[in-house]
């Protein structure tokens, strides 16, 4: 958290219930079901300055890898743009998704990219790179649906069909 927001003085844990209809919408937009244990509640962290003002958000995600859970965290600024992503725990054989060159591909991705987010590793991707990509996509869509309460845009669906890759 300190690495993602060096100016933060503290953080606040926020838990949001996921209504059934919103869950269905999230899973449709993400193109995948949320994992057991992630379907009832959505949790994120508000990063705060010395006056208690929110300066960004951090999300901690868990996705299934080949050999167990892959845990990672990423931060978004107030424009909901990813400012950093770090792998925290994994036990995968593949190491590609842990490399800086892969993780930095997510920097600058915004909420509006969520529906069309594709594995930056492309055809060379692995279970790990696909898991991280899916986790980021789910988290951004959850934040959108549950925090910003922004309905899914037809434009986003169209972009999803076309496919888009982070820089």
């Amino acid at each position: 958290m300190t690495r993602l927001f060096p100016d933060a003085k503290d953080y606040r844990t926020v838990t949001v219930p996921i209504p059934a209809d919103v869950l269905a919408r999230i899973e449709k937009r993400a193109g995948a079901a949320l994992l057991p244990g992630q379907r009832e509640q959505y949790q994120y962290f508000e990063m705060l300055d010395k006056d208690g003002k929110v300066i960004g958000h951090v999300q901690a995600m868990t996705q299934k890898g080949e050999f167990g859970a892959i845990e990672f965290v990423f931060g978004t600024d107030l424009q909901h743009r990813i400012n950093g992503l770090y792998i925290q725990r994994q036990r995968e054989r593949d190491r590609g998704f842990r490399e800086e060159s892969f993780l930095t591909k997510f920097h600058g991705v915004t909420l509006s990219d969520a529906d069309s987010l594709r594995d930056p590793a492309g055809d060379a991707g692995s279970i790990g790179t696909r898991a991280v990509t899916l986790g980021v996509r789910k988290a951004l869509i959850e934040f959108d649906e549950l925090v910003l309460k922004k309905p899914a845009q037809p434009k986003a669906a169209a972009a999803s069909e076309a496919g888009a890759t982070p820089k």
């Binding site: 958290m1 300190t2 690495r3 993602l4 933060a8 003085k9 503290d10 953080y11 606040r12 844990t13 926020v14 838990t15 244990g37 009832e40 509640q41 949790q43 705060l48 208690g52 951090v58 901690a60 080949e66 050999f67 167990g68 845990e71 965290v73 770090y86 792998i87 925290q88 725990r89 994994q90 036990r91 995968e92 054989r93 190491r95 842990r98």
Partner: protein
């Protein structure tokens, strides 16, 4: 980042609930004896409640079950519900961030014949987890136990022979600063049961740890403890009552290397004017996506001519509704040149549920 790692370690669903002590048969006298410490703890909790807004709160619930079948040369065949337990963690926030954490962890063990209260504390969280102060029945910052527990694993705990208390009534200061983490507990020294007088004989336990790198692949820690420890029933199979004045130190490290996780703890404790050495190591290796190999070994010196050792090898297989673990453990004891050996086979069904509310 380290703060995030601290948070994950506190909420880690894989972090097994520990075993501890508070026998059902001892509840009444304990309640009588508990009062002085209990009043202080309740007072601190109420004060903390008064200072934070309950409007913003998150609840973390963990429930787990552990059923085992064993066969040993010395004890024959046995099957039991080894443990049904759980923990509750409530986090309250004020306008400047998360501020107060209430935590309770308890279990019913040995076919529901025992009840154990492991932890029950209120923790005041400092900015970014740099410092946190907990009061009540707090975990003792010691060795591998800081972020791991062997108690729900099928092999014998290294803390059984060394009679290292898991938690105690008192105050705990802990936190993280960049790659460093620390913990310092000043407690009564009674362990998890038998609170007799206030403040008690006293026990000081501390650990300084370092986790270089973002992913936390390697952690290293130095622990120390000094004072009196009542090891009576402090954990499953801890044996008879024993008040022990001791000084102890340990070095621990955990290495996450791809599909493998390797743990080591080595130390020494001094009681009755003599130092005793202890060694423990454990390895998990994911051979296949649904097959993890597990191995563990420990060596404990009780006196010059009393040496005990155990070696375990087995597998862990995650299934949709539970994890099945099984293996073989060999135990050898050498007492004044007389040798004893035992062979034990174990099969375990384990289930953990984590819920956020």
């Amino acid at each position: 980042m380290k703060t995030a790692r601290w948070w994950v370690s506190q909420n880690n669903p894989d972090r097994n609930l520990a075993s501890g002590a508070l026998g059902t048969q001892d509840l009444d006298p304990l309640i009588q004896r508990w009062r002085p410490t209990g009043l202080i703890w309740i007072g601190l909790t109420l004060l903390a409640f008064a200072l934070v807004s309950p409007a913003s709160a998150s609840l973390f619930v963990a429930l787990e079950g552990d059923a085992r079948g064993t066969y040993s040369e010395s004890g024959g065949a046995d099957a039991e519900v080894a443990s049904v337990g759980g923990s509750l963690r409530k986090v309250f926030a004020d306008r400047y961030g998360d501020r107060l954490i209430l935590y309770v962890q308890a279990e019913s063990a040995a076919d529901f014949s025992e009840a154990w209260l492991h932890q029950a504390y209120a923790e005041w969280k400092g900015p970014m987890g740099l410092w946190n102060v907990a009061a009540g029945r707090v975990p003792l910052p010691w060795g591998l136990r800081t972020a791991w527990s062997p108690d729900r694993l099928p092999y014998s705990s290294p803390y059984e022979w060394t009679r290292t208390p898991e938690s105690d009534n008192g105050v705990l200061l802990r936190g993280t600063a960049d790659m460093w983490d620390y913990g310092l507990a000043l407690t009564q020294g009674y362990g998890m049961k038998g609170t007799r007088d206030f403040p008690g004989p006293g026990n000081l336990t501390g650990r300084l740890g370092i986790t270089p790198g973002v992913e936390g692949d390697f952690t290293f820690g130095l622990s120390f403890a000094t004072g009196t420890a009542y090891t009576h029933g402090d954990g499953h199979g801890m044996g008879e009552a024993m008040e022990e004045e001791r000084t102890a130190a340990a070095l621990d490290c955990t290495w996450n290397a791809g599909r493998g996780t390797y743990r080591f703890e080595g130390g020494a404790r001094r009681d009755e004017e003599r130092w005793h050495g202890t060694l423990f190591g454990a390895a998990d290796y994911a051979l296949l996506p649904k097959l993890t190999l597990q191995a563990a070994g420990q060596l404990y010196e009780h006196a010059a001519s009393h040496i005990f050792g155990r070696v375990y090898g087995g597998v862990s297989i995650p299934l949709p509704w539970f994890t099945i673990r099984g293996g073989y453990e060999y135990e050898r004891a050498e007492r004044e040149k007389e040798e004893h050996a035992d062979h034990r086979f174990v099969v375990q069904l384990y289930r953990l549920l984590s819920i956020v509310r």
